[in-house]
Each structure stands twice: as C-alpha cells, then as structure tokens.
C-alpha cells in the first residue's frame, strides 16, 4: 500500500483517465437496456463469426426438392409429402408402386411390374436427393414384384428455405457476418480518415483549418447517398468497394467532432508543455490530441455502426450490394418482400434479424453516450 503511493505521483494523469473509464463502465452496467443490448450484440457477433461454420446447411447449397418450404421444427420432407415423392421415383423406374411405408429413417416400397424387374431399378430411387442406399430386400421368383428399402434423408429447415431452396437460417447467419463486417470495416475507414483529418485541421488552425473545413462543407452539400449509389453502380459491385464508399460518406461528421475537440484541447497546458519541450506536431497529435478525443469518438462510432449497417442493407435491398450466392440482410428482406404473399417467413425472419441488431446497436450507443458524456455529471 505504501509502495503504491510512492510510485503514483508521476503517472497521475493516466490514473485519473482510468477512473473516467471505470465510472463510465459502472454507469453502463446500471443501464439495463444497454446491458441487454450488449448481450444481444455478443450473441450476434458469435452467430456471425461461428454460425456459418456450425450451421447444418451451407448458405449456398441449393435443395431443389425443398423450394420455399415454410419454417418448421419438424424435419422435411414431412411424412405425407414423402410418399408421393417415393411413388414418383418408383414410377420413373417403371414400377407399379403398391405401397410405401416410412419407418423412422427407412423407406420400404413394395411394387410390381408386368415385365421382369431389373434389380438395378434401385438407381431410380437413389437418384432422388431424399433417398440413398436403396437395396432390394426381396424379389419374387417371377421377378415381377419387388421390395425395396432405402435410407431417407430428412432435413431440418428451422427458418424455412428461400425461392431457390436454400436454407434461410444459414443465409441469415452469413448475412449477419456480412453486416457486422461491413459495419466494423466501414466505421474503421471513417474513423481513420475522420480522426486524422479533424485532428489535423483543428491542430493547425488558421488558413489550413479554413481550407480543410470548407472542403468538408462542400462535401456535405452533395447528395451523398446518391454518389454512393453512383459509385457502386458504375464501378462494379464488390464488397471492398462498398466498405470504402460507405466509409467515405460517413467520415465527415467524425472529422467535425474531432476538430472541435482538438481546438479545445490545443489550449490546454499539457499540449503547451509538450510544445515547449519541442515535441513535433505529429508527435503531439499522436500522443496527446488523438487519445484525448477518444470519448466522443467512441460514442459517435457506436452510433455510426448501425447507420453503416442500415446503408449497406439499403444498397443491398436495391440490388446494389453483395452479389449472389453471398447475401445480406437487405437482399433477404428484398426477396422476402417479393415472396411475402406465399411465404411470409421469408420476410419476417430477416426483418427481425436486422431490426433486433439495429435496436441493440442503438441502445448500446445511447447507453455509452450517457455513460461517457461529461455534461451529465
């Protein structure tokens, strides 16, 4: 204890700043909506990172037998649907199907034919995606009636399948990954550009500041969503371009916030002291200015992520985002809107996934703002 007090005088400043973060965290812990959002967000991140690996179906696997099957906990195909498929398979093998029985994962088919049956008829059964390992269990002596058993492959689609017969749950998981990735990367791009630009303008002040902020004002007056659309339409639709385009739209506010903070910080004693000690401008920026703007930047950042995700979903909704077979929540919602007459779940599940994600991000951002905002003390 005594050792500690001896050691502390020099790094007094970092101690103080740590306590700021501690109090902020304590306040955040008291905010129930924000904590719930944090939990939901962690679940989303885990779902985005590991979900596609653990999902039972690959997101781009097409099941032609299961186009637009509704969400269900029961495995597909359901029993009464299985029999006609088996009969159809038998008919293709030119058999008169007498009976089809399903026992667990086994299908037993009894059939007759007017001609002699070739045991290789099992191939016709195997050809369907549903049945495998078809075997002849008994063949009558005149070779005109046969009993075939086969393994039935039944699949679960807990969120149903889309219009191409792909598992919607797996597609939602991969979309969450895409959305979170774009949210994080585009925010990162905006963060780097905005912080550097704003800090430079605010730190140098005078004519440089004027010039740099004038430029920001001009960019503000442009209809920027439209320019993003133009960029995406004209220069191909790849995900990397989208990060850059979205990030390039969102850095303006960030640069303004950082500039304001920087101007306030520049007059503080510790910056003047560093200047008096002969620290270079870039050194002061890196060591003193930028770390001290962190609070507002973090607040703004958490509120920017949902904005970016929304913009990406909007572009994807218009068909300007990620391309098939990859998908995104915006694409899924657009597909759901087209198919909502017959397949409501195709709209509802992706819409819920996006809405909950946006709610969680917004509540967390609001909570962080309340926790870090010094005006609130």
């Amino acid at each position: 204890m005594t050792d500690l007090t001896v050691a502390t005088p020099a790094p007094a400043a970092p101690m103080k700043s740590r306590s700021l973060w501690e109090t902020a965290f304590l306040r955040l812990r008291r905010n129930r909506a924000a904590m719930a959002s944090l939990v939901i967000l962690v679940i989303y991140i885990l779902a985005g990172v590991f979900g596609p690996m653990l999902a039972t179906h690959p997101y781009d696997r097409v099941y032609p037998d299961f186009v637009k099957v509704p969400a269900s906990i029961e495995p597909y195909p359901q029993l009464d649907a299985l029999v006609p498929i088996a009969e159809e398979a038998g008919r293709r093998g030119r058999l008169d199907v007498q009976s089809v029985a399903i026992e667990g994962n086994r299908m037993i088919m009894r059939a007759t034919s007017e001609r002699e049956i070739d045991p290789r008829v099992t191939r016709y059964i195997d050809r369907s995606d549903l049945f495998s390992n078809a075997q002849v269990t008994s063949l009558s002596d005149d070779k005109k009636s046969i009993e075939i058993t086969a393994d039935v492959k039944r699949l679960r689609f807990i969120a149903g399948t889309d219009a191409n017969g792909r598992d919607l749950f797996a597609r939602i998981l991969i979309s969450i990954r895409i959305s979170l990735m774009i949210g994080a990367l585009a925010t990162g791009v905006a963060l780097v550009i905005g912080v550097l630009y704003g800090a430079t303008a605010g730190f140098f002040g005078g004519r440089i500041d004027n010039l740099m902020m004038r430029f920001v004002d001009i960019l503000y007056s442009l209809p920027f969503t439209f320019f993003v659309i133009l960029l995406v339409v004209f220069f191909g639709r790849n995900v990397v371009l989208m990060f850059i385009a979205v990030g390039a739209v969102e850095w303006l506010d960030m640069s303004r916030i950082v500039r304001g903070q920087t101007i306030a910080l520049r007059r503080r004693e510790f910056v003047q002291a560093a200047e008096a000690l002969g620290v270079s401008s870039s050194g002061i920026l890196r060591r003193h200015i930028i770390p001290n703007t962190l609070g507002p930047v973090i607040i703004y950042m958490t509120l920017m992520v949902p904005k970016v995700i929304l913009l990406e979903s909007f572009l994807s909704f218009l068909g300007l985002g990620v391309q098939e077979p990859l998908t995104s929540l915006g694409v899924l919602i657009a597909e759901g809107a087209r198919n909502m007459q017959g397949a409501t779940y195709m709209l509802i599940f992706p819409a819920m996934a996006l809405t909950i994600l946006l709610f969680a991000l917004n509540f967390l951002g609001d909570g962080l703002r309340d926790a870090l905002d010094p005006k609130d003390r």
Partner: protein, 305 residues
Amino acid sequence: MLGYVVRRLLSAIPTLFLIITLSFFLMRVAPGGPFDRERALEAKVLANLNRVFHLDRPIWEQYFYYLKNLAQGDLGPSFIYRDFSVQQLLGNGLPVSIQLGATALVLALLIGCTLGTIAALRQNSWIDYAVIATATFGITVPNFVVAPLLSLVFGVWLSLLPAGGWDSSNSMILPVITLALPQIAVIARLIRGSTIEALRSDHVRTARAYGLPQRMVVIVHALRAACLPVISYLGPAAAALLTGSVVVETIFGLPGIGRYFVQGALNRDYTLVMGTVVIIAVFVVVFNLIVDLLYAALDPRVRYD
C-alpha cells in the same frame, strides 16, 4: 431581406454546378453505355444512335452541350424511354412524389409535434415513455422493413387496403404511413427535447409570472422557441420526402420519380440520372433557404440583411 434571398440563391449556383459536373463525369467515366444489349446492336445502328444523342462527340463538347441546354431549362431526351424527354418523365412522376411526400410531411408535423409536446409536458410519465419508445422504434426500423410489413398486414392478411399500385385514393395510405413514421419519430423527439428546455427558460417563466394561462404559455411562448430545431431538421427532410423514395415506390409500385435515379443509373440513362440529380439538388437548395427564412421569422435574435 430580398438581398439576402438573392445572395443565397447566387451562392447556390457553384454548389449546383459542382454537383452537376461531378455526376456528369462520374457517369461517363464508368464502363458501359445506354445502348449495351445482350446482343450487340448492329454497328451502323449504334453509330446512328450515338450520333443522335451526341455520344460520338468528345466528352467536353457533350458536357458544354448539356450545360447549355440545362441553362435553357432543357434536360434532354431520355436514352432508354424512347420518345420521352426527361422533362416529361419527371413531370409525370413529380406530382405523385410531391403528393405523397407533402401528405406525409403534414401528417408527421401534426402527429410529431402533438406527441412531442404532450411528452414534454408530462415528462417521466407513462405517456412520455410511450412516446420515447415509439420514437425509438420509428427511427430504428428502416423503411424497407416497414413498407413490406405494412403491405403484408393491411394489404394481404387483412385485405383492408391495396397492397400496392396507384389507382384509388386508398393506395396512398400505406405509402404515406411508411414515409411519415420515421419523420414522426424524429420530430417528436426533437420537439420533446426542445420543449422541455423552453419550459425552463426565462421568457416562459416571465410569461407565467404575468399570469398567462398554461395553454397560452405553451402554445405561444414555449412552442415558438421549441420549433426551431424542428425547422432546421425539416429543410433537408422535406427535400428528401418530396423528391420521392425509391424504397416506397418500388415496394408499393408507385409511379413517382424516386425510382428513376436507381433505374437510370443501372440503365446508363445519362440524362435521366442528371435530371433527377438536378431536381433533388434544387429542392435541397430551395428548402434550406426557406428554412433559414422561417428561422429568422420565428427567432427574433436572427436577422438577415
């Protein structure tokens, strides 16, 4: 005052010019052209088409040609919609977009202001929390989720309203709700915050001290000050609402101008894209000016001369 208006309009010209120039060259630099087809057109046909639309000229010449026509109010012919000029297309679509946007705007102002004021007067009551929750919902849920859900519930399940199309007066209801919902949310939030602040301010306390009835204090004195943030928000919001929403028009199948931009950009319909850009930019400039003038009218501290 008039001098201020003229100066503002003049200062908008460089901005408009910049927007037009940027869009023009961005589009022309991009690969592809308006006459690209799955099966290539015959060389001679293509050459003729290019000549008719001046695409065979150097790009600088095309640019000045476009500017010259624009200065005369001519937006040029559409490249894709044969026999239509961009003016005709926008002229057909704009009334629809304005009708929807203006209705949504009025609705949003009425409901938003009412909800916001009630919430501010009953701060921390259940009404207040209900308004905040509604506002959070309206801001968070994007319109491309709201629109299909409304269409599904009221159009398909309940069959109360048309799920899409533009044939009866009922077909306006769902699009207007979709457009108004986020605006209601933002306006209610803004009004609530600024009314709470205004109710604590000196001039409201003075009005109370004079013994004015509560209704007068709120409506005349508090709301006048509380309107200011809403008005500065409304400038860009109104411009965006009146120029149509691509999402709402696509989902409900409406003939507005919102979808022309994306369609035009995808089809490389150069003049149509430029036309929508010009219209939107003009709306933004005009509404920002109106906002500044309204501001001066409402806030005696602001004076323009």
